[in-house]
């Protein structure tokens, strides 16, 4: 795969910065240039919005047949996570045994290595998720 795709600046991969529609207030991740609810009204009013990084597992899978970049990492857990801000995103859930994952598990984002492009290629970083460490006050 071409190097520019890897090295393109995608700060959202590291910082979980999404966008908030200035018209309806809905928060999106990954960032959007147009709000699918407000459309035209939202143009020019989509603002950067950092997510707190906390969410709830909505569904999950454990991958045993990985694509080439993830060979040797299997089994790894991936989840569809509903962030506290209301948007959904997909990511790996790490630092837990596959049997520990369940729907409803509270998770928080962490910054991790995603994969390496061979031994001499670019190392890709981004977000993953782990079990929320501290008990939350309701």
């Amino acid at each position: 795969m071409a190097v520019p795709r890897y090295w393109r600046e995608i700060p959202q991969r590291y910082n979980l910065v999404g966008t908030k529609c200035g018209s309806c207030g809905k928060i999106y991740f990954p960032p959007k240039v147009v709000c699918p609810t407000c459309r035209r009204k939202s143009l020019g009013h989509m603002e950067d919005c950092a997510l707190a990084g906390r969410g709830t597992v909505e569904s999950y899978t454990v991958i045993y047949a990985p694509p080439p970049h993830f060979e040797g990492e299997e089994p790894y857990t991936m989840a569809l996570i509903k962030m506290d801000e209301g948007c959904y995103l997909m990511g790996q859930v790490v630092d837990l045994e596959p049997q520990e994952i369940h729907i409803g598990l509270r998770v928080e984002a962490c910054f991790r290595r995603i994969y390496e492009d061979g031994t001499r290629g670019a190392i890709q970083y981004g977000y993953k998720f782990k079990k929320m460490e501290e008990a939350e006050t309701p």
Binding site: P30, T61, V62, I63, Y64, L80, C87, M90, Y115
Partner: protein
């Protein structure tokens, strides 16, 4: 818009066809369909071909021109278009051909679909198929195609109580049907235990919950209804041809226990055809994974939401059930050459509607439906056909 019919169809054998090239497969399917329709090269106004990723599977793009060349039609200089919508490329190619004939622009078009997938290693095929998902926000993080459907399966199980055994029964049924299809990649029966004991690919989906990697091609001939009678006394009318889209990313969907694009395309198709789900006699649905067939029969309104698993268990969709689904063996047993699948579904509908399905012929075959999905539900194409 004019009334449109199908007047011929053909498929190659499906499987690991190491001795045949992509071009061989395109030529074989196309010529079979042309012979079946009884048309001559000079009758053809245009070609459409669906293909997902020939560029990455075999290093070949520009499939429209390739199809014209191998079919011996280059000198006619007719328009030849390649259509891509991941695993719905075939269905979308037919929708394109349908619109061209319905509009009056063309009278006779040939629509094909092809994919040659087994020339790359399995992990590379997984990676290529992941290009049907959002590369930067899903595949980048390690999501695979079975993984995306596994997320939907787990969600469906949690919300509706669907079980692994019910998923397995989709595979058992489709393999059973596949034993009667001489073109199918796998012509052997499997048991629920075989499915549940097979290797886990993406929990809760086992290897035998997944459709295979396949080489194959299919083609149909489309004509206006008034032209159709010149060539065949067994035309099949296209009652509806509908295409719907949704977000490419699973995480941006409005729900995870259904494919909203399929629901939308189905609504369009029933309205266009003037029929209800209960009028459909049989269907070919996009069972790329067992959960996909469970969601498909719900999205199509054959059963209520959440009832796909129990209905499958009760035999509703078996060949002798109330609404036979995937009599061809489906993607699961017949094989899933992604670009060809949408057209191969139409081929099966035509065989059934014309009473040519042999041992797997269903008793009542007046109206059939095909349901072809791209990616994890970013594209859905639905056709409803009737014998006339």
């Amino acid at each position: 818009m004019r009334e449109v019919a199908l007047i011929g169809s053909g498929v190659t054998e499906f499987g690991e066809l190491w001795e045949k090239s992509l071009a061989d497969l395109v030529a074989e399917a196309g010529i079979t369909a042309i012979m079946d329709a009884g048309i001559d090269g000079t009758d053809i106004d245009a070609l459409y071909i669906g293909g997902m990723s020939a560029g990455r599977f075999v290093g070949q793009e520009h499939l429209g021109s390739l199809a014209a060349e191998v079919a011996g039609l280059s000198d006619l200089h007719i328009p030849a278009t390649r259509v891509e919508a991941a695993c719905a490329s075939g269905g979308l190619a037919l929708h394109s051909g349908y619109l061209a004939v319905a509009s009056g622009a063309y009278d006779v078009v040939v629509v094909g679909g092809a994919e040659k997938m087994t020339d790359v290693p399995g992990t590379e095929a997984t990676n290529i198929l992941a290009s049907a998902a959002n590369r930067e926000w899903e595949a980048f993080f390690g999501a695979t195609f079975p993984g995306l459907y596994a997320l939907m399966a787990r969600y469906h199980m949690h919300k509706h109580g669907t079980t692994s055994k019910q998923l397995a029964q989709v595979a058992v049924k489709n393999h059973h049907n596949g034993t009667l299809n001489p073109k199918a990649q796998y012509q052997r029966k499997i048991s629920v235990e075989d499915v549940l004991n097979s290797t886990m690919v993406a929990d809760p989906l086992h290897l035998l919950d997944c459709s295979p990697i396949t080489d194959g091609a299919a083609a149909v001939v489309v004509a206006s209804v008034e032209t159709a009678r010149q060539f065949t006394d067994q035309p099949v009318r296209i009652m509806a041809s509908c295409h719907a889209s949704d977000s490419i990313s699973l995480s941006e969907r409005s729900r995870f226990d259904a494919l909203p694009a399929a629901v939308s395309a189905a609504r369009c198709a029933y309205r266009q055809a003037g029929v209800e789900p209960t009028d459909i006699d049989f269907a070919e649905v996009h069972d790329c994974f067992t959960i996909a067939e469970i969601m498909a029969i719900e999205d199509l309104g054959f059963v209520d939401r959440g009832q796909g698993g129990p209905a499958t268990e009760d035999g509703l969709t078996a060949r002798d059930g109330d609404i036979p689904v995937n009599t061809s063996g489906g993607l699961k047993s017949k094989g899933h050459p992604v670009g060809a699948t949408g057209i191969a579904q139409i081929h099966e509908l035509m065989l059934q509607l014309r009473g040519q399905a042999g041992q797997r012929q269903v008793e009542k075959a007046d109206i059939g439906l095909s349901h072809n999905v791209g990616g994890s539900g970013g594209t859905a194409v639905i056709h409803i056909l009737e014998a006339i």
